[in-house]
Each structure stands twice: as C-alpha cells, then as structure tokens.
C-alpha cells in the first residue's frame, strides 16, 4: 500500500488538531480589537507593531527565554551525568532508576506544582526549616519569582534530557571507551573527550525539547509566578480571557512560535556544524 495512504489518519489528525488552529490563530492575529466593538475583521500588522514597540512585551519575552535557557542549562548539567550513570548500571537497577527518573512525568502538573508551592512558599517547608535552624531571619522569597519557576520547570524537564542523552549513549560503541583507555586516557578525559562529544546529538535533541517546552509552558509559570511574574504563555492567556483582546493574544502567540523556531534552528545548525562527525 502507498505509504502516504497509510499515514493518512495521522496526517488528518495532525491537520485538524494542529494546522487548522494554527492557521486560524495566524489569521486572527491580523484582525483588530475595539473595547466596544469587539473583534473587527480588518487586516493589518498593527498587533505585531504594538507588541514589537512596547517595552512591556520585550521584558516578558526576555524573561521567558531567560527562564527557558536557564532550565535547559540546568537540565544539561543534571541530565547528562544522570544518563551516563544510567548507561553504566546493571539491568535491574537501571529499570528502577528509569522509573525514578520518569517520576515527575507521572504526576499531574497541578499536583506537582502545588508540591513546589508548599516547598517554596514564604511559610513553606524550605523557609521554615532554614529559619528554625537559624540560618535565615526573614524568609527568602522563592514563590512568585523567576527562580522558583526555573526550579519547578527543571524538575519536570530533566527526564526528557536524560532519555534523549541516554538514547545517544546507547548508540555509541563501548569499545571507543576501551580504545581511549588503552591510549592512556584517564576517566575524566574519556568522559570529556570521548563520551560527551558522542552524546552531543542526544544533548542537542534534549535541549531542543526542553527549551521549546519551557518557553511555551503555561501551568507551572502561572501557578508559581502568579500575577506578578508573567511569561509569554500567561500573557497570551490574559489577553484572551481577561482583556478579551484575542487578536493581540494571537499575535503574541505567533511571535513566540516564530522566535522559538528561529532559536531552535540556529542552535541545531551550530551544534551540527561543531560536531559534524557524530551527526549524519
């Protein structure tokens, strides 16, 4: 049978669920909005101009990408060694560890984030413990900060990084490690010069996933950031549901999409060029 025909159901689903709403959002972003008239079916770039000329939005976009970048870096730093140890474990300890690593994904986002709120709050577990121990006199604010969002997001994003890097490590020939050892390399040198570069495709795909998911995440920033620390996704939500300015919200969403795409493609190019030998 024709492969195209076989993938038709998937394509249809993809079309209905993703492409159609995306196109409608795209069209919507060119309409305009009046307080008394509602959505007017005009056609112009004024929404984009509004966003791109307003410092308020620059701050929100800047914060969003800074958070996504921080989350990505933390996930690379935590996830890569984790994947490395996972790779070296025996079969049965490994299956237990994989379950533990996947743990954050098995818990609903709301429950998980509420958990972080209990930990991070001014009267939360961490602050109370530190104050009881006398290390702090007044609570260190973690709720409603970008830092809090980064911590809670990193928690749920690490599994994606671990799995991506682990997959890359499994593809590499273990004899390359033995070869490096026989040539006189120590453990740390082997990790840095042999294992890590070969894991680059995994680190790349993991960081692409983590970055794009973090940049567009909604639930965690809205719960932990609250009304004070807005990111792009929560701003779009506010435009749609509070201000009811759907066209502006659509324009912000499209800009986010394009920006994330541009960043991902650039990053992909840079890494692939740098490590040409392991990609193909």
């Amino acid at each position: 049978m024709n492969p195209f025909l076989l993938s038709a159901p998937a394509l249809a689903l993809f079309g209905v669920m993703l492409v159609v709403p995306l196109i409608m959002t795209f069209i919507l972003s060119f309409h305009s909005f009046g307080f008394y008239t509602g959505i007017e079916f005009t056609f112009g770039l004024h929404n984009y101009i509004d966003v791109l000329t307003d410092d308020y939005f620059y701050e929100i976009f800047g914060r969003t990408f800074a958070i996504a970048l921080a989350v990505t870096v933390i996930c690379v730093i935590i996830g890569t060694p984790m994947a490395f140890f996972l790779q070296r474990m025996r079969a049965w300890t490994r299956s237990i560890m994989v379950l533990i690593v996947l743990g954050p994904l098995l818990v609903s986002v709301v429950v998980r984030t509420l958990g972080w709120m209990i930990l991070l709050g001014n009267n939360g577990v961490i602050n109370s413990a530190l104050m009881d121990m006398g290390l702090l006199t007044s609570p260190f604010r973690m709720m409603y900060t970008s830092g809090g969002i980064v911590v809670a997001l990193a928690h749920v994003m690490v599994p994606f990084m671990v799995l991506a890097v682990w997959a890359a490590l499994q593809r590499q020939d273990p004899a390359t490690i033995a070869a490096a050892e026989s040539l006189g390399a120590r453990r740390s040198t082997i990790f840095r010069r042999v294992v890590l570069p070969q894991a680059m495709p995994g680190i790349l795909s993991g960081s692409l996933i983590v970055f794009s998911l973090s940049a567009s995440s909604f639930a965690t920033p809205s719960l932990i950031g609250g009304r004070r620390v807005k990111v792009v996704a929560t701003t779009v939500y506010d435009e749609f549901l509070n201000t009811l300015n759907w066209p502006l919200g659509a324009a912000i969403a499209i800009i986010l999409l394009v920006a994330v795409l541009v960043i991902m493609v650039t990053w992909n190019r840079v890494v692939e060029r740098q490590f040409a030998g392991v990609f193909q």
Binding site: Q172, D173, A175, T176, A178, A179, A180, E181, S182, L183, G184, A185, R186, T189, R193, V194, P197, Q198, M200, F275, A276, G277, V278, Q280
Partner: protein, 353 residues
C-alpha cells in the same frame, strides 16, 4: 628470555573456565596468531594482556615487567578492536593524535608523528575526513595508525579483518604484514580464520576450549598437526580411524593401509589412533596404482579447484584437485585414489573431535 611471556594464565567467569593454564612466549618483533574457533577464549586472553580483564591466576610479563596490577592505560599497548572503535567525532588526524595528546606530545613533534603514522598506512590524503566518510578498509588502517603512533611495546589485534569482504581482506592481510614489518612491532593477532593466521604470522598458537593445543610456524602447524583438533581446524583434513597391528595399520572396517610407524612415545603406540590426510595430497590414479577405490558422492566447483567427496572402504574422503580446465569425474563415477604413505599423520583420536 622472551619479550612477552604468558605464564600459566587462567580466567574463570564464575564456574566457567574461559582460559585454562595458557602459556605462550613471544619474541621481540615476532608476529604470533592466536587461532581458534568462536568462544575458545581468544578475546579473553587478549583482554587480559590489554588489562581489561583480570586473570584469575597466572602472570603476564612484557619486556621483563610484570603487568599484574598495571592499569590498562599505563600498559602502553596498541590495540586494534574488532569494531575499530574509532572516535566518530574526530577527524582521522585527530583520532591518530589522541594517544599523542595523552602522552603530552605537542606541536611539531605531534604533527610529524601523525604524518608518519598516516604515511605508513597510506592514508595521508584522508587526514581531514571523519571516520563515517571512510570505507571499511580505510577505517581499519586508521585504527592501525592510531595504535602504532604511540610506538607501543606490543600490538594487539582482535579479528581486525573480520568485518571486511573477502577480497579486501586479502589485500589488507598483505598490507598488515607490510605495516607490521616496517614498524617492527611485536604483534599478537586473534583470529578464527586459519588462512589469515597462516598468511600473516611467524607462529600460530592454536587454541581449543581455553587451552593451547599447538604452537608452531604456519607450515609446521599445517604439515605436522599434533592433535586431531589442530589438524581439522587448520585447513581441511580427512580422518581415518583404526589401530596398529604390529607394524601394519588396520582401519576400523578392516582395511590394511601402509602407514608411517607410530612414534615410540606418542600417539599410536597402543590402542586406537587416527590418521590425518590432507585432501590435496590424494591423487586420482589408474586402478592398478590405487590405494583405495570409491564412488564420487558429491562434487563442488570452487573456481581454482574441485572438491570431491568420495565414499571408500576407509570412510568418506575429501579430495581436492586443481582445476586444470578439463572435465572431472561426475557424481556416481568410480574413482581410484592413491597417496604417499608419508603424507599420513598419526594422531591420537580426540574425544571431542
């Protein structure tokens, strides 16, 4: 004193004895092959020399130095792995330079030695390529250059040619021999390919089930195998079972054959023995000169030669004949066979063989 001495080396994995009481001496500059069937412990032996496996007992001495307790990275051996194990993210030159980096060889000296190593394996023009952009034979040579550039005390090769197709393998055999001789490095090759072992080595060590069966120069090992296993594993061989009755050999079906006298101490002095006979030593002759006659059961054309299976009173015999370009007996035809008695080797029959 030998350059490399394996002294009563053993390795057990739990209850399983992978290598048992293995002793071998290798002289400086010598090329020795460990030859044996799959699973006989060749790789395990090599890994113990390389330092990746700890021997259960026994010692390894290289150039008078006891290697037990010396980490793999401090042994200074050049190893070529079966999968080549090239670093895919490094260019050919960087791969070759890795060992030099570990030895803190820098600048001009580093460049000179990389160039020399690539020159040796005829790959200078590909220095900037990544391993993925190379053919199997080229990767193989990069792996060799990477192992040789550190001027190893010993070169270990684990079935380095087994991933190559037949034609390339023959080319690389010549190439490997040339490189080894030019570099003058003492080499231990592991292989299950008897042709490779015979073509390359100064000496062959035949292994069977973790033990050393025979150790000899290729010609010697082929001509005078000391066990039934060695005779069957090194090339093709016919086995004729029987026993000596006085000076005469009688097969188990009662056929009398002229055979060399049994060695006084060794096999055949008493009890069952086996005569080994190479298929290429059997000739097709006139009926009058025949030692035995028989019917052709099977005939296989191999290009440069023919392989016959002939049913005779002494058992089924394999016979090979050079393809002289004329018709050969068809299956079903009666043929008359003869051989010189001194081509027969008297061996103790092996329970496992």
């Amino acid at each position: 004193m030998a350059y490399l001495e394996l002294d009563h080396l053993s390795k057990a994995f739990g209850p399983f004895q992978a290598v048992a009481d293995f002793s071998l001496d290798v002289a400086r500059g010598e090329f020795v092959s460990l030859l044996g069937p799959s699973g006989c412990g060749k790789t395990t032996t090599l890994q113990m020399i390389a330092g990746f496996e700890e021997p259960t007992s026994g010692t390894i001495r290289l150039n008078g130095r006891d290697l037990s307790g010396v980490a793999a990275r401090d042994r200074g051996l050049g190893i070529v792995f079966q999968t080549y194990a090239l670093f895919p993210h490094m260019t050919v030159a960087e791969n070759v330079g890795f060992g030099l980096d570990m030895r803190k060889v820098r600048g001009k000296e580093r460049k000179r030695r990389i160039a020399a190593a690539l020159e040796l394996v005829h790959l200078s023009h590909l220095a900037g390529r990544h391993p993925r952009q190379l053919s199997g034979g080229q990767r193989q040579r990069v792996a060799l250059a990477r192992a040789l550039v550190i001027e190893p005390e010993l070169l270990l090769l684990d079935e380095p040619l087994s991933n190559l197709d037949a034609k390339l393998r023959e080319e690389m055999q010549l190439e490997l021999r040339r490189i080894q001789q030019e570099a003058g490095v003492t080499t231990l090759l592991v292989t299950h390919d008897q042709n490779e072992a015979m073509a390359l080595s100064d000496r062959i060590a035949v292994m069977h089930a973790g033990t050393l069966v025979q150790e000899a120069a290729p010609f010697e090992a082929y001509e005078r195998p000391t066990t039934a296993f060695a005779s069957a594993f090194l090339g093709k061989s016919n086995a004729i079972h029987g026993r000596y009755e006085g000076p005469e050999f009688v097969t188990k079906d009662g056929v009398r054959l002229a055979a060399p006298a049994p060695a006084a101490d060794g096999a055949g002095a008493a009890g069952d023995v086996m005569l080994a006979l190479r298929p290429e030593r059997i000739l097709f002759v006139e009926e009058a000169d025949a030692v035995v006659s028989g019917k052709v059961v099977e005939r296989v054309f191999l290009g440069d030669q023919w392989l016959f299976k002939v049913a005779t009173p002494v058992g089924e015999l394999l016979v090979t004949r050079r393809n002289g370009g004329h018709a050969e007996p068809e299956p079903g035809a009666t043929v008359h066979l003869a051989w010189a008695a001194d081509h027969l080797r008297v061996l103790a029959p092996e329970a496992a063989a």
